[in-house]
């Protein structure tokens, strides 16, 4: 018989008309860990876990639209929680829309991951090993946890994506009219979608790390990855400039390869916007990060790009129009974002370059990543010569004309997502003070809606950019390149202090740049927590934005802090897909530090994380549907997240009620007893109005029932101190987190005991400095908290 292999065909002699096609060869799997109870969970498999979460963190809905217009029964008015013609109530409709958002976000990551896998298999073959070096043994914690698979090569991810894709279709099916009717079940499905999304992200990053040899667990990686330049001011416009935008790195990687192989590294600048920028710097260390998503419009309008290369996600829908405005040819490289251009894949590069440079076409599509580098670089070199004399920043006369032309009608303010006082800033500029206008540049989210409604046709974006140009030219930050996975050895070091609470928590700033008040808030969040010895792990646009600001010593936050997964560390984990490594770090704490079985054991690990790992995500500028699915994925794993005020437009939050005692009943797994506990974490998804409010909120969401008294005193110190620093008062609920006098910070113990006595009527034994009555529960150092009865080890 011939060797069995996938796609093989063989016939059996003596049997006519029999031919067998080999679809899949199942190899005997290494017995690396016994299979847990829930490998490859389906929609209903983890529903009980979801309902435990949803019964404590009850879904909260704030509709953006009071109607449903998804079928021809409607439009239906659902105001006041009325039912639509199909029978769906407003609450379920909101949950349905949340599921839809998570579907879109999860599909974006799944589509990206699958696309990447195809490209990588085409380029490198299926057998690229997943070997992340001596420091990373658990290479893919989510893949092991959710699928029960220990991936050895990138080809193993075929099975993982097949599982995800099947689940996505089943979940999408539930959105149809006449399917799900319960908001709780819609939310359980959204949590399932979020979990799949986290798995997608890990798969995508594992594949690109393995194939492109991105930083992982080898010497020089992890805490020691190199730095990269960030900011519009770091781009050398004396060279030809290529700007890449999106999330899928192979085309940009090919540009880097072409530059290196042709000795053009010093003649062409390769810069990026958004996550492709981060990933490009992981592949090609001479690349630069121009900006996060929030400045895309303004970077393009500033005309610094001689060529724009787009791949997928977070690309402005009007990108081609923007490129044409500044004579930048555009190359679209992904079939999900083709922008009406003509597909020129496999055409002669000479002809494509000639068409682009001559302006015969505004752009082209090249779907084969390895054909992009040559065309992009050659076009950029030619366009640089042609575009050198062109000016895209307004002249002083133009600027003065426009600011004087403003009639203060207020239309721009009504159109602005942040309601910025643009007219008043114009008025100040007309009177000679451009500072108010320049100050708006960073707060502006760069959408351009203002220009469309301006009765005087003022190019407001250009006017604002002109005002801020002196600062923009000097915008030169630094950040570490994306380090990828947290090392197992780092987890061994910090597992105990994290679970015991002496490292007060992991703060994970992630996601988009739809901030209420500019990028500096991102920097402040990182600075505040890193200086307090929290572990700060960043990905995506927040990782970029916080690198734009410097301290009094002229250092960026990355330069001022070490890059290790330890107290005070500030890590750029990587692009959006890399934030799966933040899930991974929490999972590894459960697995490596606590020895919990990992394989196919999602529920137990999530239960462990919810009760013990003081981690809190913050998506201060969350904007996209991906951010919705990302946050929901964190939530199912037991990690809370804080969003900025725009985050309320996601319609749904998960908040508990500390005043409802029954919601806070846990089980002590040691003896099966029921224990009423303090609200830690109080919320799974909550919005704050300002960064001053968000900082103490994040500290609060790091409390966990498992905290030791020493750990609790550290967490209380920061919670109280952040409140006093930013809100000028004690938090009204700090007493809820006190179980015993030793929970109180030593330096202020007497003061706090007195407050407990005076304000909460607690009984204090002042001779022994002991709390005699008052707390929700007594401190029990051997408390083994769980929400799962099946984990009870013995009955009282």
């Amino acid at each position: 018989m011939e060797e069995l292999k996938k796609g093989g065909i063989f016939t059996i002699s003596d049997m006519s008309n029999v031919r067998i096609n080999i679809g899949e060869v199942v190899e005997e799997e290494e017995e690396w860990e016994p299979m847990g109870p829930h490998p490859m969970p389906r929609i209903a498999t983890l529903r009980n876990w979801d309902f435990k979460l949803l019964n404590r963190y009850k879904p909260f809905y704030a509709p953006v639209c009071d109607m449903c217009c998804l079928c021809t029964y409607g439009k239906c008015d659902l105001t006041g929680n009325k039912k639509g013609a199909c029978g769906i109530r407003m609450d379920a409709q909101q949950a349905r829309i949340v599921l839809l958002a998570c579907l879109v976000g999860c599909s974006a990551h799944c589509g990206h991951g699958r696309h990447l896998l195809h490209d990588m298999i085409n380029k490198f073959g299926r057998d690229v090993p997943i070997d992340f070096g001596p420091e990373v043994d658990i290479e893919a914690p989510l893949t092991r946890l959710v699928c029960g698979i220990k991936p050895k090569t990138i080809g193993d991810y075929d099975r993982v994506f097949s599982y995800i894709e099947e689940q996505i279709v089943q979940l999408a099916d539930a959105l149809h009219t006449g399917q799900e009717g319960s908001y709780m079940d819609f939310e359980s499905k959204a949590l399932h979608m979020g979990m799949l999304d986290s798995l997608n992200k890990e798969a995508a990053d594992v594949i690109q790390i393995a194939c492109y040899k991105l930083p992982s667990g080898f010497p020089g990686d992890g805490p020691d990855v190199p730095f990269v330049d960030v900011g519009i001011g770091t781009i050398n416009t004396n060279n030809a400039v290529i700007i890449v935008i999106g999330h899928n790195v192979p085309p940009a990687a090919d540009i880097g390869v072409y530059l290196t192989e042709n000795g053009l590294d010093d003649k062409v600048e390769l810069g990026g916007i958004c996550c492709t920028a981060i990933d490009t710097t992981r592949v090609y260390h001479k690349a630069k990060i121009v900006s996060a998503l929030g400045r895309q419009l303004r970077v393009l309008r500033a005309g610094i790009a001689d060529v724009v290369v787009t791949d997928e996600q977070c690309i402005r829908a009007d990108v081609l129009e923007l490129c044409q405005r500044v004579h930048s040819p555009m190359i679209a490289t992904n079939d999900k974002a083709m922008h009406g251009l003509v597909d020129r894949t496999d055409d002669d590069p000479d002809k494509i370059v000639d068409d682009l440079v001559s302006g015969r076409v505004p752009g082209v599509i090249i779907l084969e990543p390895d054909q992009v580098g040559e065309v992009a670089v050659r076009t950029a070199l030619e366009m640089d010569k042609k575009r050198r004399s062109l000016k895209f920043i307004l002249s002083d006369d133009e600027f003065n004309y426009y600011v004087n032309d403003c009639i203060l009608c207020g239309g721009c303010t009504l159109a602005c997502p942040n309601g910025l006082p643009i007219g008043e800033a114009n008025k100040s500029a007309a009177a000679g003070n451009i500072k108010p206008l320049a100050d708006l540049f960073d707060i502006c989210v760069g959408c351009g809606r203002c220009e469309q409604v301006c009765k005087k046709h003022i190019p407001i974006v250009d006017v604002m950019t002109k005002a801020a140009y002196p600062q923009l030219k000097e915008e030169k930050g630094r950040m570490r390149i994306g380090r990828g996975p947290i090392w197992d050895s780092e987890i061994r070091e910090v597992g105990a202090p994290l679970v015991l609470g002496t490292i007060p928590g992991i703060i994970a700033p992630i996601g988009c740049g739809n901030y209420p008040n500019g990028t500096k808030d991102a920097w402040l969040i990182v600075k505040e927590f890193a200086e307090r010895n929290y572990i700060v792990t960043l990905t995506g646009c927040m990782a970029i934005d916080c690198a734009l600001w410097k301290d009094e010593d002229g250092k960026t936050i990355y330069e001022a802090h070490h890059g290790g997964f330890g107290g005070g560390g500030v890590m750029n984990i990587g692009s959006c897909v890399s934030n799966a490594h933040i899930h991974g770090a929490a999972i590894k704490v459960a697995s490596i530090f606590a020895g919990r079985p990992l394989r196919g054991n999602y529920e137990e690990i999530a239960d462990y994380i919810l009760s013990r790992v003081g981690a809190c995500g913050v998506a201060w500028g969350a904007m996209s549907q991906k951010a919705a699915s990302i946050a929901t994925g964190f939530n199912r794993l037991g990690v809370p997240a804080v969003v900025g005020p725009h985050g309320v437009k996601y319609r749904r939050a998960f908040m508990s009620r500390p005043d409802i005692k029954e919601d806070w009943k846990l089980i002590d797994a040691s003896d099966g007893s029921e224990v009423y506990v303090e609200p830690g974490p109080q919320d799974l998804l909550v919005a704050c109005e300002t960064v001053e409010e968000a900082l103490p909120m994040m500290a609060k969401l790091c409390f966990r029932p498992s905290d030791t008294d020493r750990g609790r005193s550290v967490k209380l110190t920061h919670y109280i101190d952040l409140n006093q620093k930013y809100l000028k008062t004690y938090p009204p609920d700090w007493h809820l987190f006190v179980r015993v006098a030793s929970d109180l910070p030593l330096a202020t113990r007497d003061v706090l005991l007195k407050k407990l006595e005076d304000e909460q009527d607690w009984k204090i034994d002042w001779k022994k400095k002991k709390i005699e009555a008052g707390p929700i529960r007594a401190y029990n150092p051997s408390f083994n908290p769980t929400n799962l009865e099946r984990l009870i080890r013995g009955r009282k």
Partner: protein, 179 residues
């Protein structure tokens, strides 16, 4: 009442949009509440005048929930008589529950006044109350310089150049609330 476009022009929820009203009408409406609550946000801190208006309403016996970081202003002003810090999202989560005990333990409120809160955040919270705090009905108004369709009543949009007119409206409003 007149017709106005939302401050964020696309913020059109559906058929039930609140009306625009002058300060005396809103003040009178507030006076009809049996258990009102003033919810204030961080935009209050941009000018001491706005803080004083909140305190003026507080002195008429209406308790204040200070959300965002607005509590800082009350602490610095030395007015903490009936002021409670609360996160707005968490507060709204409580307000939608008729069984909530309230900030003082005496039960939920029948009337909520929004003031000094970022427009879109306030709008979403008002949307929650409009849609889910319906039994018993919770009445809502906004006294910000924005038209809020999700509140039952609010002012018209007032551009920054009209700041003095807005201040005058707030003064009239406080005067018209019966203590």
């Amino acid at each position: 009442m007149g017709i106005e476009i939302p401050f964020d022009v696309a913020n059109i929820g559906g058929p039930e949009a609140g009306g625009v009203a002058p300060p005396e009408v809103i003040g009178s409406y507030i006076s009809s509440a049996s258990r009102p609550l003033l919810v204030v946000g961080s935009e209050l801190l941009r000018d001491g005048f706005f803080l004083d208006i909140a305190i003026g309403i507080g002195k008429k016996g209406i308790p204040l929930a200070a959300t965002g970081h607005s509590i800082k202003g009350f602490v610095e002003k030395g007015y903490m008589e009936n002021v409670y810090y609360y996160n707005l999202h968490e507060l709204t989560n409580c307000l939608r529950d008729p069984n909530w005990k309230g900030l003082d333990g005496a039960g939920n409120y029948d009337f909520v006044i929004f003031y000094g809160i970022i427009y879109y955040y306030a709008s979403q919270m008002l949307s929650c109350l409009k849609n889910f705090a319906t039994d018993p009905l919770m009445r809502t108004v906004s006294i910000d310089r924005y038209y809020h369709p999700n509140a039952r009543m609010s002012f018209t949009n007032i551009m920054p150049r009209m700041e003095e007119e807005y201040k005058e409206m707030l003064n009239k409003l406080v005067e018209s609330i019966k203590g």
